[in-house]
Symmetry: C2
Subunit: 325 residues, 2 copies
């Protein structure tokens, strides 16, 4: 036993490199059996997607947050993709106005709760909001089926879910639905990295000035109780690795603990050279379907027992920098 | 809109304090309606458990990891509860031997991957293992139904699950089962905080010297593919808030990045005064059932729409310090 090589690698979420096995060639005959079925990993499947399966994210849909540099002077940038219509657009309109007026500049990360959320906004609670923000009703937490394409939803995904009658993807956004009922609605779900709108007790649904990102196991009990407006597509580690707060609800208790937000801008308001060039894998393509299947049934060499299912928040949507940008 | 109070608190996982409403008294008549049904939160339900519903964790089942102090000189202790029989005992016997021989002292945290795991062991891969460690077969990833009480499992929990035919708790450990099949087995699941045994490709199931803790959304595709041996019951924030690695699979690439493990000991081998005194809420009690129901159907004042379900990894088992210890 002592000779065992114990650099034990537990399988990564996305691995790079595409071995021959990933090209669906039959395993070569060999005196030693090939490891398992040598099926491609989810990451290898994604790497094989054709370029037309990747969708560029428009600069108006990207929120770029620059935090103060860390203790070693390293820059920390968090990039958020805002949800497309028809979801949560009332809050998102507010968020675009807040960014355009530079409202968040000089505010801070105020709360980091382990296995839950990192939350930011004005710690003083006294900074006036810009004029013209909408008051968004609770009814916008869900969208009626008339407003979206049931067919595209159904094509995306349909596994057993612990919280809803079904789950699926539209435009590569994870959604849930009570679509077996007589008046079906759809709603975005709180997966890791989801960005939502902090609020007080009902009927206040929040202005959008106070935001949070999920940094733990999907808190899906928040679905339909608070607005999901986007997801972190780059740099979430600058939120998830922050020290946890020590106050009630894990808010930071002192100014020294808070992390200053230097700026939050829509990418469309940045000089072209500073606009992040990102793209996501379309949930309408054949590769996405193969990717979901592989997440539910891991058959790449590390795995012994495919699960036969997967929850929607364990299917992270692939997002990448556009090549060379 | 500008007058809105925007200290927006999104609901905490466990809140302290037990308001009158939590004692199941009818809401008082009032000119203003009480917020929602004023039902107790999951945390308030747990706070009402009687003392005989709390189970002391034996010192032989606690692994105490002392990391090197952080940059501010603050001590960092991570406490792990090992699984009880009949689960994963081959690896756990190895782990007790490794702790007894102080094998981990001077090793390090070597990998931190965002939304996945923190992993530790001997970065050199050359440290000899102690004699007498068992080689544990893959078959021990699951337990046959003869070895456990189906009745207690069934009483614990049974929500729709995305990965298995059922899920439940025994001795307050989250489990899954294919119990609708002719030869049912049970297995522990990878929830946030789960501790598992790193391994290489099959048939190597790992010695137990290389361990990891889940610090992200439950990677349940690892269930039955790698051994779960315990869970972090205190101090996981010292792992989850570490900087993420920059090498392949997010391993740290340099000695400077690694976090030294000063020691790992079974609590039973520590002086009595240093033994952590911890207890968990029994999954056999009435309070646990109420707690699960409240996690699935949040009715405390913040919530508008109870989900009607919950996944097992969104039901964290309450663990606390024994009063005054």
């Amino acid at each position: 036993m002592a000779q065992i090589t114990h650099l034990a690698v537990i399988a990564g979420l996305l691995t790079s490199g595409v071995p021959a096995a990933a090209k669906n060639e039959p395993p070569a005959a060999a005196s030693k059996p090939e490891p398992a079925a040598a099926a491609p990993s989810p990451g290898e499947i994604v790497a094989q997607a054709s370029s037309d399966e990747w969708v560029r994210i428009a600069p108006k849909d990207l929120l770029v947050m620059n935090l103060a540099a860390d203790g070693q002077g390293k820059a920390r940038q968090v990039i958020i993709q805002l949800m497309p219509p028809p979801f949560s657009q009332g809050w998102i309109d507010n968020i675009r106005k807040l960014a355009a007026t530079h409202w968040w500049d000089g505010t801070s990360i105020n709360r980091v709760q382990d296995n839950y959320v990192a939350q930011w906004g004005d710690a003083s609670e006294k900074k006036p909001l810009p004029a013209g923000l909408a008051t968004v009703p609770e009814s916008e937490y869900t969208i009626s089926s008339q407003a979206i394409s049931d067919a595209r939803y159904a094509a995306g995904f349909s596994e057993r879910d612990s919280y809803a009658q079904s789950v699926g993807f539209i435009d590569s956004w994870p959604l849930a639905s009570n679509n077996a009922s007589s008046e079906p609605t759809y709603w975005p779900v709180h997966c890791y990295g989801a960005v939502g709108v902090g609020r007080n007790y009902a009927p206040d649904t929040g202005s959008g000035a106070e935001l949070y990102a999920v940094i733990g196991h999907a808190p899906r009990h928040l679905d339909r109780n608070i607005a999901v407006v986007g997801r972190v597509v780059e740099g979430i580690e600058y939120l998830s690795s922050l020290p946890r707060g020590s106050g009630p609800l894990d808010f930071y208790e002192t100014e020294a603990e808070r992390v200053t937000i230097n700026s939050i801008r829509l990418a469309s308001e940045l000089p072209t050279a500073q606009q992040p060039q990102l793209e996501y894998l379309s949930s309408d393509g054949a590769t996405f379907a193969r990717y979901v299947d592989a997440r539910a049934n891991r058959r790449d060499p590390f795995f012994i027992q495919p699960a036969g299912g997967v929850d929607i928040c364990n299917v992270p949507v692939p997002v990448r920098r556009v090549r060379g940008k």
